[in-house]
C-alpha cells in the first residue's frame, strides 16, 4: 500500500512524501497523488449527474417518449451542458495536468495547498451554478446568450470555477519549473507532458476570455452594467467556449500517446513532427470563436473566412498529423513486437480486450471520422448557413467531446486505477465491454443528431411536432425516425456510461490492492514486448514501413474529401442569397 512504502525526501528545501511506482520506478509525490484522486473522483461524479441529464434530454427529443415537460427540458438541458462539458472535463483535465507534470517528470508538485484551493473553488463554483440552474431561475442554456439573463449566481459560480481552474494551471506550470530546476528528468519533457503543456497554455487563454466576458455579464445581471453587446458577447464567450474544446483535444491526444506508450511501448514516429502538431494548436486554435459567428449580422466575410479556417486550416493540419502519427506509432510498435504479417496483423493482434486500448482506439477513429470531418464541414463559412443551430451542431460536438475526449478519459482511467489509485479494475470482463458499449452508443448519438440536423431539425428545441404553435409545421418523418434512433443510442451510451461509473467506484472501494507483484497484470492484457529494441531510439528509426497506417489515412482522406464536396453540392441548391 502507498503509505507503507512512502518515503520522505527533501528536495529544494521542501519536504515531500513519495512512494515509488512499482511499474515505472518513478517517484510519485503523495500530495500529487491525492490531488489526482480528488479531481478524478469529482470528475466522475459530475459525469454521472450530467450523463443522467443527457439521457433525459435524448428521451424527451424522442417524440414518442417525450419524457420531460418543456420547462424541465430546458432546465435539464442547461444542467447537462454545464455538468459534462465543463465540470466532468475540467476536473479530469486537472488530474491529467498533475499526472503529466509531477508523476511523469518524477517531481514533487508545486504548491499543493494552492492546488487544493483551486479544487475547492472549482467544486464550490460548480455546485453554486448547478444549484442555481436546478432552482429553475437560470434555464438559459450553457451559452447564456444575452439579453436572456440568468440569476447572478449562475455567472458567479462559473467565475469561481474558472479561477480555480486557473490555479490548477499555475500549479502545473510551477511543477514544470521545479522539475527543470531540480533536474528530475533529462533533456526535454516527454511528449505527453508537452501535450499537457499545450492544453494548459490554451486553457489559460480560455479562462482569461471567460473572465473578460463573464465578469461584465455578472455585473449586468446584478444591474451595474446596463447592456451587453450581443455579438461581442458571442465573440468573447466562444473564445472561452470553443477554445476550451481545443484544451480537450490537446489533452486527449496526449492521452492517446500515453496509453499506447504504456500498453504497447509505442514511441512517437518523430518527436519533431508530433510536437510541431501540438504547437500548431497553440498558434491557431484560438481563432475558433468565429465558428459561432458565421451567420451573424455585422461580421465581415474576410474576418469569417480567415478565422473560421484557423488561418488556412493550420490547426486542422495539426490534428491530421496526429491522426497519422498515433496509428503510425501503434503500427511501428506492434511490428517491433513481432506482428509483421500483411498490412493489418498489427491491428488485429492489438489488445482489443484491454479497455484502455479499445477505448483509446475508438476515441481516435471516431474523433477523426465523425468529429473532425463534421467539424470542418460545419465550420465552412457558407455551408454553415445550412447547419447553424440545427441538431447537426450537437451531433458534431458529441463526436468530438464525448466520443473523442470522454472516451479517451475513460480509457486512461483504466490505467490510473492501478497506477494512481493502486487498485485493480474490478470485474475485468465487464470492463472489457464498457468502451464498446459507450462508443457505439455515442457514435449513434452523433450520427443520428447530424442526420436530423441535415434535415433541418433545430437544436435546443422541445417539440419537433410544434403542437402548441399558432402556425402548424412539422419536420419530415425521417427526422422523427432520427430522433428515435438518437434516443435508443442514448440509452446504449448511458448504459456504457453507468457501467463506467460503477466500475470506477467499485474498483476504488473494493478493487484488489496493487503492489510490485501484480502491477503489470493490473494494467490489463498487452502484447509481449520484443526485448532488445533499444536500437530504435525513436519510432521511425530502423523499423518497417507502415502500410496499414497509410491505408487508414487514405480511407480517412477519401471520406473527408467526398463528404466535404457533397455539402457544397447541397449548398448550391439553396435559394440564392447574398
Amino acid at each position: 500500500m502507498a503509505m507503507a512504502t512512502a518515503e520522505t525526501g527533501v528536495i529544494g528545501g521542501v519536504a515531500a512524501r513519495f512512494r515509488t511506482c512499482p511499474a515505472s520506478g518513478l517517484k510519485i509525490d503523495l500530495a500529487a497523488q491525492r490531488l489526482i484522486k480528488a479531481n478524478a473522483v469529482a470528475a466522475v461524479v459530475f459525469l454521472a449527474i450530467g450523463g443522467i441529464f443527457g439521457l433525459m434530454v435524448a428521451l424527451t427529443r424522442w417524440q414518442a417518449v417525450h419524457l420531460l415537460p418543456a420547462d424541465m427540458f430546458y432546465l435539464v438541458l442547461t444542467a447537462h451542458g454545464l455538468d459534462v462539458l465543463l465540470l466532468w472535463i475540467l476536473f479530469f483535465e486537472m488530474a491529467v495536468l498533475y499526472f503529466a507534470s509531477a508523476v511523469l517528470l518524477n517531481c514533487r508538485l508545486a504548491a499543493p495547498r494552492i492546488a487544493w484551493l483551486g479544487f475547492a473553488l472549482m467544486l464550490g463554483g460548480g455546485l453554486l451554478t448547478n444549484i442555481t440552474v436546478l432552482q429553475g431561475q437560470s434555464s438559459v442554456m450553457f451559452t447564456s446568450y444575452p439579453p436572456l439573463q440568468a440569476h447572478p449566481n449562475f455567472y458567479l459560480g462559473l467565475i469561481l470555477f474558472a479561477v480555480g481552474a486557473l490555479l490548477g494551471c499555475l500549479v502545473f506550470l510551477g511543477t514544470l519549473v521545479i522539475a527543470k530546476e531540480e533536474k528530475t528528468y533529462e533533456g526535454s519533457v516527454p511528449l505527453v507532458t508537452f501535450g499537457a503543456l499545450t492544453a494548459c497554455i490554451i486553457a489559460i487563454f480560455t479562462i482569461a476570455s471567460g473572465a473578460i466576458i463573464l465578469v461584465p455579464t455578472w455585473l449586468w445581471s446584478i444591474g451595474y452594467i446596463s447592456e451587453i453587446n450581443t455579438v461581442m458577447y458571442k465573440l468573447v464567450w466562444w473564445a472561452m467556449g470553443h477554445s476550451s474544446q481545443q484544451v480537450n483535444v490537446a489533452a486527449h491526444v496526449s492521452i492517446w500517446y500515453a496509453i499506447i506508450a504504456i500498453l504497447l511501448g509505442a514511441k512517437p514516429l518523430s518527436e519533431k513532427v508530433s510536437r510541431t502538431a501540438f504547437f500548431l494548436y497553440i498558434l491557431f486554435l484560438q481563432l475558433a470563436s468565429a465558428h459561432h459567428l458565421l451567420v451573424e449580422p455585422g461580421v465581415s466575410a474576410e474576418w469569417r473566412v480567415f478565422n473560421t479556417s484557423y488561418f488556412m486550416y493550420m490547426a486542422v493540419l495539426g490534428s491530421m498529423i496526429h491522426g497519422m502519427t498515433v496509428p503510425g506509432a501503434i503500427e511501428a510498435a506492434q511490428r517491433r513486437n513481432g506482428y509483421t504479417r500483411g498490412a493489418f496483423e498489427w491491428l488485429r493482434k492489438a489488445p482489443w480486450g484491454n479497455p484502455a486500448f479499445s477505448g483509446m482506439f475508438l476515441s481516435l477513429v471516431m474523433f477523426g471520422f465523425l468529429g473532425g470531418i463534421s467539424g470542418v464541414v460545419l465550420g465552412t463559412e457558407q455551408i454553415n448557413i445550412m447547419l447553424h443551430n440545427t441538431l447537426y451542431v450537437p451531433g458534431h460536438f458529441h463526436a468530438t467531446v464525448v466520443a473523442g475526449t470522454t472516451l479517451a478519459f475513460m480509457a486512461v482511467t483504466y490505467l490510473l486505477l492501478p497506477l494512481i489509485f493502486q487498485r485493480q479494475v474490478i470485474w475485468p470482463r465487464l470492463a472489457k465491454w464498457q468502451p464498446y458499449l459507450f462508443g457505439i452508443g455515442v457514435a449513434g448519438i452523433s450520427l443520428f443528431m447530424m442526420g436530423a440536423g441535415t434535415l433541418g431539425v433545430a437544436r435546443r428545441h422541445w417539440d419537433v411536432a410544434f403542437s402548441d404553435a399558432a402556425l402548424s409545421f412539422a419536420y419530415p418523418a425521417a427526422a422523427f425516425l432520427m430522433l428515435a434512433l438518437n434516443g435508443l443510442s442514448a440509452i446504449l451510451a448511458a448504459t456504457g456510461g453507468a457501467l463506467f461509473v460503477v466500475l470506477v467506484v467499485a474498483s476504488v472501494l473494493w478493487g484488489k490492492p496493487v503492489d510490485e507483484t501484480n502491477i503489470i497484470e493490473s494494467l490489463g492484457p498487452m502484447p509481449q514486448r520484443q526485448v532488445g529494441d533499444a536500437v530504435a531510439s525513436y519510432g521511425n528509426a530502423g523499423t518497417w514501413k507502415l502500410p496499414g497506417t497509410y491505408i487508414l489515412v487514405s480511407v480517412f482522406f477519401t471520406a473527408f474529401v467526398l463528404y466535404y464536396f457533397v455539402n457544397w453540392k447541397y449548398l448550391s441548391q439553396l435559394w440564392p442569397m447574398g
Binding site: 436572456l148 514511441k267 518527436e271 519533431k272 513532427v273 451567420v295 466575410a301 493540419l317 491530421m320 442569397m577
Partner: protein
C-alpha cells in the same frame, strides 16, 4: 516513449520518414483547397451571407415593419389573424422576431429577388427557413438585410432555432412563394 523524455537529447535533428512528409504535404494542400473554396464561393457562388447590417432601435424596426405590413397586407393567414404581406417583387421586405412569433407572414414570387430585413425586438432568435434549411441568427438592435431569391413555390415555415425561453418551440412563421403574377389571396383561406 511518449511518457519519457526523448531518448536522444537532440531530437529535433532526427530525420522524418518520407511517407510522413508526404502526408503532411497532402494535409497542408488540402487545407489550402478548403480555404480557397470559401473564397471562390464569394466570387462565383450564389449562396453567401449578406454583410449588410445596421444598428437600429428595436422600436423603430417595429414601426417600419408595421408600416410595411399595413402597406402590403393582402389578407390574413387562415383564422390566425396574422396579416399576410405581399410586397412588390424586387422590393424591401420586413420580418420581425419577438417572443414568440415571426411577424408578418410573407407572400413572395418565385424567381424574384427581395431585400429581407430581419431584426429582433427582444432576445436573440434563429431564423430557420424550412424545409429549405437556411439558418440566420437574429439579434436585437441589429437590422440585417439579406437579398434572397426563392426558387420554388410552396408554403415554407420559419422556425426559431435559437433558444428564447419557455415558448421557444411555439415560435413559427410562414413564407408563401407563388408563381409570378398569380393573384394575391387566390388560394383558399
Amino acid at each position: 516513449m511518449a511518457i519519457h523524455p526523448p531518448e536522444r537529447r537532440v531530437w529535433w535533428n532526427e530525420p522524418i520518414e518520407k511517407d510522413e512528409i508526404i502526408w503532411i504535404v497532402i494535409a497542408f494542400l488540402w487545407g489550402l483547397v478548403m480555404f480557397g473554396a470559401m473564397v471562390y464561393w464569394h466570387i462565383e457562388g450564389r449562396q453567401n451571407l449578406s454583410t449588410q447590417a445596421y444598428r437600429i432601435d428595436p422600436a423603430l424596426f417595429e414601426k417600419r415593419t408595421a408600416e410595411f405590413t399595413k402597406q402590403f397586407k393582402v389578407r390574413e393567414e387562415g383564422t390566425t389573424g396574422i396579416p399576410v404581406a405581399r410586397p412588390m417583387a424586387g422590393g424591401d421586405v420586413y420580418m420581425l422576431a419577438r417572443l414568440w412569433e415571426w411577424w408578418p407572414v410573407l407572400e413572395l414570387e418565385k424567381g424574384r429577388s427581395y431585400r429581407l430585413h430581419l431584426s429582433s425586438l427582444d432576445w436573440q432568435h434563429g431564423f430557420s427557413l424550412q424545409p429549405v434549411n437556411i439558418n440566420i441568427q437574429v439579434h436585437p438592435g441589429i437590422e440585417h438585410v439579406i437579398t434572397m431569391t426563392p426558387t420554388e413555390t410552396g408554403t415554407f415555415s420559419v422556425v426559431c432555432n435559437e433558444f428564447c425561453g419557455i415558448g421557444h418551440h411555439t415560435m413559427v412563421g410562414r413564407i408563401h412563394v407563388v408563381e409570378p403574377g398569380s393573384t394575391a389571396g387566390s388560394k383558399p383561406q
